[in-house]
Amino acid sequence: MTFLAPEGLLALLAVPALLLLRLAGARRRARIAGSLLLWRRAAAGRPAERGSRLPPPADLALEAAALAAAALALGDPASPRAEAGETRLVVVLDRTASMAARAPDGRTAWDRALSALEARLGGVPPGARVTLVAVPGIPGGVVEGPPLEVLRAARTAGPAASSGDLLAARLPSRDDRTVLLVTDRLPALAAGDPTEVLAAGVPLPNAAVTALRAERADGALRVFAAVANLSEAAADLRLSVRVADPEGPGTDRALRCGPGEEVGVTLEIPGAAGAHAIVAIVSPGGALDVDDRLRAPVGDGRTGPVVWNGPDAPALRRALRAALGPATEFAAGAPADAALHVFHREVPPTLPDGPTLLVDPVGAPPGLDWTVGSGAPVAAAGPWEAALRATGLPAAAPAATGASPSPPAGAEVLLRAGGRGAVAFVFPRREGPLAVVGLPAAGGWQLAPAYPVFWGRLVRRLVARTAGTTPRVASLDRAESDLRAAGSGHREGTPGPRPAPAAPLSGRPLLAWLAAALLALRLSRRA
C-alpha cells in the first residue's frame, strides 16, 4: 500500500478535530431554573440523561469514518496489483533442461526456483487465484487454484529434457493479471513489460557452450565443443554431451575455465556413429538465456581453410576454429577452396565467391565504388551502408543510417542487439552466402574478445547457414539478450532488472464513494 498524494493525508487531522469539536459541543449548557419541581416530574420515567450530549456513537462513527475515508481518498492510496487480493497471478515456471543445472552447493536451479516461488506465493493472499503454466507443460496442463495448490502442483513436476518458449507462455495472461516468470535465465523483455521475473538465483558462472560440432570417426562420434566463461572468476565446469537424435549415450568432461576464457574440448562418444544430432550442456551453466542445451547436427566436417583478411580478431578465430574444427587453417589471399572468406575491418573491391563474412566493415572508404559478384556498382555512403550495398542484390535498398541499421529486404537477420536493431545479416547469394556483421562503434559496440559467446553464436549460425541449415528464428530472437547480457556485463544468478511494476490500483475512487455513502447515511440518520 502506498499513497500517491501523501500530502492529502494531512486531511486526516480533521478527524481528531471533529472529535474535539464534538466533545466541546457536547458540554451541557448550564441553566438556572427557578425550581426543579416540574422538571423532575417531567423527566420522571425517562431514561437518565448522560453527562454529555455527544451524538450517538453510530453517528459519530459515521462522521469520523466519512472524514477518514475522504482524507484517505485525498492521499490517493494505491496498491500494487500483486498485492491486491482480487488480482490473479499467472506463474510461468521454467522447467527446461537448464533448470537441472546443479550449483556447487548441490542444489539445482529447479530447487531454487521452487524455494523462490514458495516465498513469493507466501505473500499472496490465500484466497487469490494463481495459474501455473509450466514450460514445457506438465501432464496436468495448466493448473489454477489457490497458492498452496499451485505450489503443490509445481513440486510434483521437475525439469524436463526439452526447451520451451517462456515468453510465449504468458499469452494466457490478461492485463489484470500479474505474470510471474520463474526462470534461471534473463528473459528478453521489452521495455515496460509488466512481467515480474523471479530469478532462480542460481549462483552459476556465466558459462555456456559456444560451439558444438560432431563428426563420425572410426565408429564413434567425435565432438568438438567450445565452452566460454564470462564470469569474472574462474569456474569449474562440466560439459555434458548426449546423442539427441535418436536419443542415446553421452559423455561428460570436467574442465576449468578462466575468467573471460573460452576453452575448446574434444570428446568421443563410442558407438554413436549413427547419430544425427547431439546436444551439449555445461553445468553449472545457465549463463545465458539461449541454448543452454546446444544442439548441433552431426556432419562430415568442413574442409578448406578460412581466408582471413584484415586485422586479427582472436575471439573470432577461436569461434571459427571451434565451429569448423580444431584443424581449421587460417590463410591469406584467396584460396579457391576456402571454407569462408573473412574480411575484418576491410571491404574488398569485389566480393569473392563462396561464403563470405564481412566483419565490422568500418574500413570502407566513403564513396568507394566497388562491385559485388556480377559487378553491380556500390555507392557507399558510409561504412555500414557500404557493406550492405556491397551485396548488389536488387532488393538491397539503402539501409538506415546511424547506430541502428535496418536490414534490407531479402536479408536474413542472424543476430539482433537489444535496442540496437540487427547487427548481423546473411544474404543469399548465388556465389555463396554473404554475412555482414557490423557493430556500430559510435554506439559503444566494437569487435572485442570480451564477447566470445557472441562470436561463437554468430559463427555457429553462419556455418549452419552456409551449410544450408536454416537457423531457428526463436534462437535468433533470444540471441538479442545474449548480446545484451554480454554488453551490459549482466551475470546470471543475480536477479535481472525488475520490469516496471503493473499500474497500481488506485483506491481513491473507492474511498471517495465510501466517504459519500457514509455522509449520506449520516445525513439520513439526522433527517
Binding site: R28, R29, A30, A33, G34, L37
Partner: protein, 290 residues
C-alpha cells in the same frame, strides 16, 4: 430597582381606584362583651332581638320591648368589618431566577392588590414569604400610606429558599384575606397550605411565572440548576420533555386552582409577559362560571 411610587404608574394607580377588589366582608354576630366601638371603616347594624341571658350587657337590653312584651330582650347587632388584605409576596430565589421581569411583575401585582384593598376602604399589609415564615414589610390603611408600602415592596429582593406552606399558615389578624403572589413552584400541598381558620377571608392566589417557565423552549442538552437548593438535573430538553413539562405544569396549576376555589378564593395564572393591569384585571373580574 424601581422606587416605591414608581412601582406602579400614577395613571394605573388612578385606574385601580375605580376597580373593586372582590373581598367578602366578613360578618359575625357581635359576641357578648364584644367591642362596640367603631373600628376603622366598620359600622354597627341592628339585626334582631334575643332573650336576655345572664352576663349580657345591660346596656343592650331593649327596654321598649320589655314594656311591650313583658320579658327582657337584648338587641343583636352585626358589625361590618373593615376589609383587610394581607399580600404575601413570594420572595424566594425562584422568583428572580428566570430573569428580572418575573420579580418585577410580581412586586407590581402585589403592590396593585394592596392598593386595591386600600382603595376599597380596607387595610393592606405587605409581607414577604420565605422559608421560615413571612415578615411584614409595611401596612397601609389609607391612600396616603400607599407610597410607603410601595417603597417597601420596591426594596425587596428575592433570595433564599421558600416555604409557601409555612408562610400561608402564618399568624393572621382576624378575618383578613390573603393574597399570595408566587410562582407556586413549591412542593407544598395546596389544600393544606390554604387551610385557614373559620371566618378568614377568601384567598387570592396569583401564580406568576416567567415566560420561560410557562413555555420552556428547546435548549437541547442542558443541565438545570435549582435556584434555591442548588440541585442539578442533566436533561435533554427536547420536544418530548417540553410536552411532559407542560403537562406537569398544568397539573400542578390545577391542583392549586382547585384548592383555591375550594377555599372560596380566586386563582389567576399569569406570566411576566402579561401587563400588570391585565393580571390585576383578571383578579378583580368575576370568575367565569364554566
Amino acid at each position: 430597582m424601581s422606587d416605591g411610587p414608581g412601582l406602579l404608574a400614577p395613571d394605573f394607580l388612578a385606574r385601580l381606584g375605580r376597580m373593586r377588589l372582590p373581598l367578602r366582608r366578613a360578618s359575625g354576630g357581635a359576641p357578648s362583651g364584644g367591642r362596640t366601638t367603631r373600628r376603622l371603616g366598620g359600622v354597627l347594624e341592628f339585626v334582631a332581638h334575643r332573650a336576655y341571658a345572664p352576663g349580657d350587657d345591660p346596656r343592650r337590653v331593649d327596654w321598649n320591648a320589655y314594656a311591650r312584651l313583658g320579658r327582657l330582650a337584648v338587641k343583636e347587632f352585626a358589625r361590618e368589618e373593615v376589609p383587610r388584605l394581607r399580600v404575601l409576596l413570594d420572595a424566594s430565589a425562584s422568583m428572580g431566577a428566570e430573569g428580572r421581569a418575573k420579580w418585577d411583575r410580581a412586586r407590581e401585582v402585589a403592590a396593585a392588590l394592596a392598593a386595591l384593598a386600600v382603595f376599597a376602604g380596607g387595610t393592606a399589609e405587605a409581607a414577604e414569604a420565605r422559608k421560615g415564615g413571612c415578615r411584614t414589610l409595611a401596612e397601609a390603611g389609607s391612600e396616603g400610606a400607599i407610597p410607603g408600602l410601595l417603597r417597601a415592596l420596591a426594596a425587596l429582593e428575592p433570595g433564599g429558599p421558600g416555604d409557601l406552606a409555612s408562610s400561608l399558615r402564618g399568624p393572621r389578624r382576624g378575618p383578613e384575606a390573603v393574597a399570595l403572589v408566587s410562582d407556586l413552584l413549591d412542593p407544598a400541598d395546596p389544600r393544606a397550605a390554604l387551610a385557614a381558620p373559620p371566618g378568614a377571608g377568601e384567598p387570592i392566589v396569583v401564580q406568576l411565572l416567567a415566560a420561560g417557565e410557562a413555555r420552556p423552549g428547546g435548549d437541547g442538552a442542558i443541565e438545570l440548576a435549582d435556584s434555591e437548593t442548588g440541585e442539578r438535573l442533566p436533561c435533554l430538553a427536547d420536544e418530548a420533555l417540553q410536552a411532559r413539562y407542560a403537562e406537569a405544569l398544568t397539573a400542578h396549576r390545577e391542583r392549586w386552582r382547585r384548592a383555591v376555589v375550594a377555599a372560596g378564593g380566586r386563582f389567576v395564572a399569569a406570566d411576566d409577559s402579561e401587563p400588570v393591569e391585565a393580571i390585576v384585571g383578571r383578579v378583580v373580574r368575576p370568575p367565569v362560571v364554566r
